[in-house]
Amino acid sequence: MSPVFLNTLEVILNGLMAGVMYSLVALGFVLIYKASGIFNYAQGVMALFAALTLVGLQTGQVPFSHLINAIFGTEVHHFGWELPALVAIVLTLGVMVIFAILVERLVLRHLVGQEPIILFMATIGLAYFMEGFGDLMWGSDIKKLDVGLPSGGSFWLEDVTRGWAAEGADYYGMYIDLLDVWAAIVATILVVSLTLFSQYTKTGRALRAVADDHQAALSVGIDLRTIWVITWAIAGFVALVAGVMWGAKSGVQFSLSLIALKALPVLMLGGFTSIPGAIVGGLIIGVGEKLFEYAIGPMLGGATENWFAYVLALLFLVFRPQGLFGEKIIERV
């Protein structure tokens, strides 16, 4: 096989892996949108917040230490213990559930029946709030997240693929980050378990009923508020997974919250209401932007990844306004 072909293959594989990461974030959006019709812009910041909390708990940081030090003139930073990754993850999950309850109590409950744009703005407000709050709580320095997942290139794959190239060719094997492979595996497990949950449990069935029709769900005795708390808690869980994966890859820092912006074109492509859409959309965007950057990017000066996904989604929407798997839009006067 020629090196060009192998290089392209590598780009496609890496694109698929990146796409999985986008899908992870997009999944959280879809869950909340289906259950409550809210376009939750804060999903990316939730991922950042979850990752920050995880690191903070793991390394035993004192919450609000900067603020406390500034007000009282003390010098506290760490409790002096380190928690195992699994315990920290469970605790973070608890924090995300509390967060879900608070969001329902303090925000959503008061905004029932408002226009979608108002709800969207509220989630942007929420995103700003959490961004500031997370930084106040844990500090804004870049943190290293390590939950024991393997990372770095796979030597085995490098050796194998080098053997595929023609003898004497200028080719050194494929580079694929093990972390990406793990992310793909975790994402698959997540999607399968979410599907099983929504298909075979009572709560899952209630979730689907609410997604289908709020009023009908209410009339058969489903408590909307509980469902919203559960949805936001699940979205928090998905955010945690996304936060762990992205955080392990590039450190826990502010830019993590920007992955929400990456997930938006994925949603447009896949349709806001479809879980398979989020996955397929993520893969298309991931492969598309990597291939475009590889093939055409150098001609345009590089960094085309910033906008390619949006333009692709835009062009796509012009021909299919509801996305790949979205529900058909029916309009009546």
Binding site: L111, E115, I117, A122, E131, D135, L264, P265, L314, V318
Partner: protein
């Protein structure tokens, strides 16, 4: 007691359809214009100019623009930052290519160029609606910023990728660049804002404004009663982008003096302007001003209070500011989803009955 229509007799159609039908409002408006044009320029200093007044004027223009598109025509846009960048770079290219051109022409021409770009990015709005459109406008935001970053022609091949405003004068007084006196930049921005606000007010209550509102309220019904959605939507995109482009040009030339595209015109600016019109009130000219004033003043006030008053480190103050901005936005949306303009309307209703509320 003073706030009444009573005794103010309207004898012709022009009187009947004026912007401020109540005499007290009219007088307050003339008084405000007098203070803005004749008093403030005499007492302004550099601090007030740089941190409060000029940002307020510039953001008001941007908020007016976005309010025309989102508040009046119902098309949500997150591309404001990108369109402001178009205005800024158009102004820069015009200023450097035609040094003799009057700065007023430069500013309005950059608005015109932005309007063309806005119409081009508005085309998908004919097919895409709601959130899908909001996300689609992000394409404009990211693509435009990338374009101005990557194509050296736009920043005249300068090594840093920055654009710096050359000095331009009005009646012999410098109004752009870092050496302009405070009162001059203030008056320059104020004059343009005055013209644009007057235009916006009259556009939105005329034929075209009504067609925008019809599209906003229900586009299919509007189409059935004979409003052309193509014309209405594209004209809203065009007019809105014109305003935003002018705001971008002023933001760069008079306020910043030098700008780097990813920093000055990033996605955060898009959200900032969106917050302004939501907090101020969608579909209200007064709301655009109120929202801009609120979003400009609040960070300044907070910073003075926390850093100046309590002596906290600036990074904590910045984080706390974000938290408070977020919380306030949610608070406003819960308490008054129609913004400050609605509060103002309610106050006026109360005032007209005061002191006998029944």
């Amino acid at each position: 007691m003073f706030y009444r229509e009573a005794g103010d007799f309207k004898t012709n159609y022009a009187d009947d359809s004026q912007t401020f039908p109540i005499a007290f409002d009219r007088k307050a408006y003339y008084a405000a214009m007098f203070v803005a044009f004749c008093v403030i320029p005499l007492v302004i200093n550099s601090y007030w100019e740089k941190s409060v007044l000029v940002p307020f004027l510039v953001w008001s223009i941007a908020a007016l623009g976005l309010n025309i598109l989102t508040g009046y025509c119902g098309q949500v846009s997150l591309g404001t930052g990108g369109f402001m960048a178009v205005g800024a770079f158009a102004a820069y290219k015009l200023m450097t290519a035609f040094p003799e051109l009057n700065i007023f022409f430069v500013v309005f021409l950059s608005g015109g160029i932005t309007a063309l770009v806005g119409i081009a990015f508005g085309l998908p709005s004919l097919r895409i609606k709601g959130f899908y459109l909001a996300v689609a406008t992000l394409a404009a935001q990211f693509f435009l910023v990338w374009l101005f970053n990557k194509v050296p022609w736009f920043y005249n091949y300068s090594a840093s990728g920055q654009i710096t405003a050359p000095e331009r004068t009005v009646f012999g007084v410098i109004v752009t660049g870092p050496n302009a006196p405070s009162w001059a930049t203030y008056l320059f921005c104020l004059t343009i804002l005055f013209l644009l606000a007057w235009g916006a007010r009259n556009l939105t209550r005329g034929r075209i404004g009504r067609s925008w509102m019809a599209i906003r309220d229900m586009d299919i019904a509007a189409e059935i009663i004979g409003v052309d959605p193509l014309k209405a939507k594209l004209s809203a995109f065009g007019v809105s982008s014109f305003y935003i482009g002018v705001a971008g040009a002023l933001f760069f030339a008079s306020y910043l003096g030098a700008a780097e595209v990813t920093e000055a015109f990033g996605i955060n600016q898009s959200f900032l302007v969106l917050f302004m019109i939501i907090i101020g009130g969608l579909g209200s000219i007064f709301g655009s001003f109120a929202g801009a004033a609120f979003m400009v003043l609040m960070p300044v006030a907070l910073k003075n209070l926390l850093v100046g008053g309590l002596g906290w480190p600036t990074d904590i103050a910045a984080h706390l500011e974000l938290t408070i901005v977020g919380a306030l936005i949610i608070f406003f949306l819960i308490v008054e989803p129609h913004g400050l303009a609605q509060l103002w309307r309610l106050t006026k209703e109360k005032l007209r009955l005061w002191p006998f509320p029944y």
